[in-house]
């Protein structure tokens, strides 16, 4: 009847905490997969996005490519990767990297492109090298848009990381899949609630970071 209440009781039940399948362990796993996926994607996508934003070259190709990647359903990709690589965390991790990539890329080049062209030109004209223009002007000025990309990617990945449990014993998705199998709807809903809470928390954190990185935050009375 009151499934919601049951789900909350399920979460509050001390026997569901601690140990290899405990909620705390699952949260740590879930976060680990999320950060690993966003981290790997960031290492690939952000430098590429910054390069595109800085040079204005290759934009169309990469945007089209990123769009194509975006159109691939993550579950389908995960199944394919799972068949190719086998059971384990690698396949979901790769699928999540692909999921995070477009948002990170878009955030990076949009951030760089949004940097005031007058300031960028002047920085170059007074004698900054291209590297200095990127690191001292374009990145700081584009930081909040760039972090916006990380924020969007994190939100997508933390929600979708639920799927990691589809082919591996990882993360909060486990409660959904095992709850589905055993018709333990309270456990399923508990899993969903935990994922939602985690996503919300991360998003709040990222939002704060984004605000703090705004180039003129707290510096200009508006």
């Amino acid at each position: 009847m009151n499934l919601f209440g049951e789900a909350l009781r399920w979460i509050g039940d001390g026997s569901h905490w601690g140990g290899p399948g405990g909620i705390d362990t699952r949260i740590v796993q879930h976060l680990w997969v999320t950060f690993a996926a966003v981290g790997i994607a960031a290492v690939l996508a952000i430098p590429l996005g910054v390069l595109i934003g800085h040079t204005g070259r290759g934009r169309l190709v990469v945007v089209a490519l990123a769009g194509a990647v975006r159109a691939v359903p993550t579950l389908g990709l995960l199944t394919l990767l799972g068949l190719a690589i086998g059971i384990g965390v690698e396949a979901p991790l790769l699928a999540l990297v692909a999921l995070a990539f477009p948002s990170l890329l878009a955030g990076a080049y949009a951030g760089i492109e949004a940097a005031d062209p007058g300031a960028v030109d002047a920085a170059r004209a007074v004698g900054m090298s291209e590297w200095q223009v990127v690191t001292r002007v374009e990145v700081p000025l584009g930081a909040s848009v760039l972090i916006g990309g990380i924020r969007a990617a994190t939100l997508q990945v933390v929600a979708t990381a639920t799927l990691a449990a589809y082919i591996s014993d990882t993360g909060l998705g486990r409660y959904l899949f095992s709850g589905l199998k055993s018709r333990d709807y309270a456990q399923m809903l508990a899993g969903a609630l935990l994922v939602a809470a985690l996503a919300l928390l991360l998003d709040l954190l990222m939002a704060a970071l984004q605000r703090a990185s705004s180039p003129t935050q707290g510096k200009v009375p508006s």
Partner: protein, 270 residues
Amino acid sequence: MGIEFRDVGKTYPDGTVAVTGFSCSIPSHRTLALVGTSGSGKTTLMRMVNRMVEPTTGTVLIDDRDVHELEKVALRRSIGYVPQAGGLLPHRRVVDNVATVPVLTGTTRRAARTAALQLLELVGLDPALGKRYPAQLSGGQQQRVAVARALAADPNVLLMDEPFGAVDPIVRRDLQDQLVQLQAELGKTIVLVTHDIDEAFKLGDQVVILRTGGIVAQTGTPQEILAAPADDFVRDFVGIGRAERSLQTVDVDGRNIVVDGSGRPVGVLT
């Protein structure tokens, strides 16, 4: 010595011919004013000096050295640059904006900041403004900061692209007066771009009037141009027919009063 444009031309990749066969030189410690309507190639010419624009033909020399043979970044750091609308870094405090080039060339941040505060004073700003961010200053104050930044590495050459174009006329006059005063003290070699002929006459030792395509309509001192405008284009551009340009004297109680074309008194002939 000084700056020399030797038969330079610039055609942009999209086919726009911005400058054709331009030659001109300005001795050290003098001001060259490039004046002309929008799109006449002034900015293009000025930016050839610090290699922000590479000419497609011809050469630019500073003190008889082809700038093309100099390393870009080092060249730019050795030349003061005041862009059209400030171009200050919005995420850095005023004092750090002024200190930009010295910090790039290895001066300690602390020493560069101390020097920057003195420069703010030199350009007529309260050093207390150093703590602010550019957006917290008025347009005129931002331009002063841009001038201070250009002076920070004590360059011999100063490039100024319509430095006072975006401020209101009263502030503009103030800034022009200050530049005249500064230049008397500092004696830089200046290339100044402006669309305002009065500014060109006020600040330029040598004035080049350009027409579209970077073609020279006339070169000369302000006196020479006023005395003998080359053609109707120059006459029109200089405003020879304008009331404030056609002065005459009238005798009032034995003194020569100068009046303009509409009879308004503007001064006394001494």
